[in-house]
Amino acid sequence: MAKIGVFICHCGENVAAKIDCTQLTAAIGEHPGVAVSVEYKYFCSDPGQESVKKAIREHGLTGVVVAACSPRMHEATFRNACAEAGLNPYLCEIANIREHCSWVHTDKDMATIKALEITRSLVEKVKRNNELRPIEVPVTRRALVIGGGIAGIQAALDIANAGHEVVLVEREASLGGHMAQLSETFPTLDCSQCIMTPRMVEAARHPKIRLLTYAEIERVEGYIGNFKVKVRMKSRSVDMKKCTGCGDCMLKCPVKKISSEFDCGLGKRAAIYTPFAQSVPNIPVIDKKRCTYFKNGKCQICSKSCPINAIDFTIEDEFLDIEIGAIVVATGFQIQNTAMYGEYGYGKYADVITGLQFERLASASGPTSGKILRPSDNSEPQTVVFIQCAGSRDPSKGVRYCSKICCMYTAKHAMLYAHKVHGGKTHIFYMDIRAGGKGYDEFTRRAIEEDEASYVRGRVSKVWQENGRLMVRGVDTLLGRPVEVAADMVVLATAIIAQPDAKEFAKTVGIGYDEYGFYNEAHLKLRPVESSTAGIYLAGCCQSPKDIPDSVAQASATASKVLALFSKEQLEREPVVASNNEATCAGCWGCVLACPYGAIEQKDILDRSGRLIKRVASVNPGLCQGCGTCVTFCRSNSIDLAGFTERQIFAEVMGL
């Protein structure tokens, strides 16, 4: 027999002013199954909670309804109080008579009737509540970091330095990502290589980090604390254990004129190559599409030149299955191809380049050893025009959003150019200068005041070639007149966009993405580094365009989330999960289709001799997030959701 306690809170005057609490207390006290019905000024206060606990003990209550504010406010408070009094916390429900009643209605009689019906309906529900216990899930204390750019490296180092194992997977042949391509970084102008390469080496040498380069994620299964990840180790055709990184093979390779991806097409590489001189690991890979041996079975010069026989053309892709507890996705970005702006002439004129190509020109380790030279004739440009927002903030041809870093790097480019080419002139066409960040506005001011960057507020309408120079026509909206500049080089601040396979990859990992392919955080403000899937976190530009400080900060934040998860051996989860009645399940798999989390699997029921009797659905409580979509799908009424069972909800409706 149910013994329900109903506790009606006045919330000072908040409830009592619009609801006749005494009448409500008396009326609900008459309801079948209600053993105690009391009112009080503030049940959330210490004496209020004590009185609830006392009533639970004295009357041996089997359920509690607190009619008060929203459950989003104090459900946890009263559930804890119940637990302290020895009542299972899931036998406590909150009737929301403040936000949903007293605060929004003016007629006291009507509000009192409504409050009674709300409370009664929850009394009916709570009669059918079951004792629930938090689900304990074991945690594999090993993290997977996907992406070996600055964000991935930072996350991996932070987790590893706390003493946990990390598997760091990078799909290119070397760690480094985009940051390794940069020349000097704003706002301090320290050389990117100088600050990046030591971190790459640290990550590679860290005893807790297992580095898998030239590797890709094939499959992710499982759930928070218990992921199973399949990694494809792409074949390098070079034995990583033998290779010393001497580089002889790269020098001997006869196919040398392949445009280097790392140098954005401004440099050349061989068919056997490391992406750049400081690659970590410093072990080459063979580009099978370009290698003469792989194309027509002849050559093998690299193999013959290798003093230690490290080259092995027979090595195949390998697959690794790794158990993982938490995943950090730090897969980065790419820059948008600006060919859609025919008027800018990118791809048509060799001296119209992207900001990233300018980085390679300005980098001491780049194709020009840090000299700013025109790609067309290797001459030093005397006038450079920079075009900002060449893709960003342009809904018609580019992307709607701001790529965030271009204002800063364009100012930096103008500075680097002024430092390297004395007497050179820079013109920057811009829409706004967005320089929010520590030391950022000072930096752009310095570009203007000390390095004489000439900012022109307006858009460029056309770039064309005339007498070996690039003519740039634009408008100066501040002076209200058209401008024409004869330049030797034009640099486009291209938009940051998601990786080309970002959406596909999101589906492999099981996370959400936005219209642009950037990965969705669980909450933009309050949970910015968590994905919508428990146990998977986001760092760096795969979530949205950001600069190095932001990427590093976000990466460290993911590490702190991972470490919190790894701080316990068992993970406690809310027991609001679905479960299936295997006796009635017909195996139609409607629930499997409905589940957004892949939490429902097929399970074989065998007899003693091992023969299959039937196949039923089985809910994995570790994966289930408790939405209940499967319950509604189930036509045999076999699946139910703890805390929101069919019985409970029907009773709730009947109580209204």
Partner: protein, 149 residues
């Protein structure tokens, strides 16, 4: 009739969006018609057509189903299931002779306290105009208390 008809409307809402939106209407002290009773569920995906039928059978004059906007579902796509289910369910409602206008469907986010209050007022007026839904009321009264036989 001297007294205006006060309809009873049962609302099935998800806890992440519409329930929170109703909370916001409360914390903003917006005033709206006192005719709605809210049943809180984790997600609109949990809302079974049976709940709607049960509410109408129990004596509700109207039913509201509301959750997160498309694309905003906390559970990634429970609301899409709810939307599709609703499209299918309309046919059944029509078949059973229950006017479709008795069942309302809406997306109200946690930030839309004003929309919640306004929507409740609109549907309350609409249901009031339609009058009491008594298709089952007499039947239930007759069958629920055998003592009257």
């Amino acid at each position: 009739m001297s007294e205006p008809f006060e309809p009873k409307i049962v609302a099935f809402v998800c806890t992440y969006c519409t329930y929170a939106g109703a909370d916001l209407a409360g914390t903003s002290r917006l005033k709206y018609a006192p005719n709605v009773r809210i049943v809180r569920l984790p997600c609109t995906g949990r809302i079974s057509p049976m709940f709607i039928l049960k509410a109408l059978q129990k004596g509700a004059d109207g039913v509201l189903v509301s959750g997160c906007h498309p694309g905003d579902c906390h559970f990634t796509h429970g609301n899409y299931h709810a939307r599709r289910r609703w499209t299918v369910f309309r046919a059944l409602l029509e078949f059973t002779g229950i006017p479709l206008e008795r069942v309302k469907f809406s997306w109200i986010s946690a930030a839309e306290g004003v929309k919640f209050a306004e929507f409740i007022n609109t549907i309350t007026e609409d249901i009031r105009k339609q009058g009491p839904f008594d298709q089952y009321k007499q039947l239930i009264r007759d069958t629920e208390s055998p003592a009257t036989l």
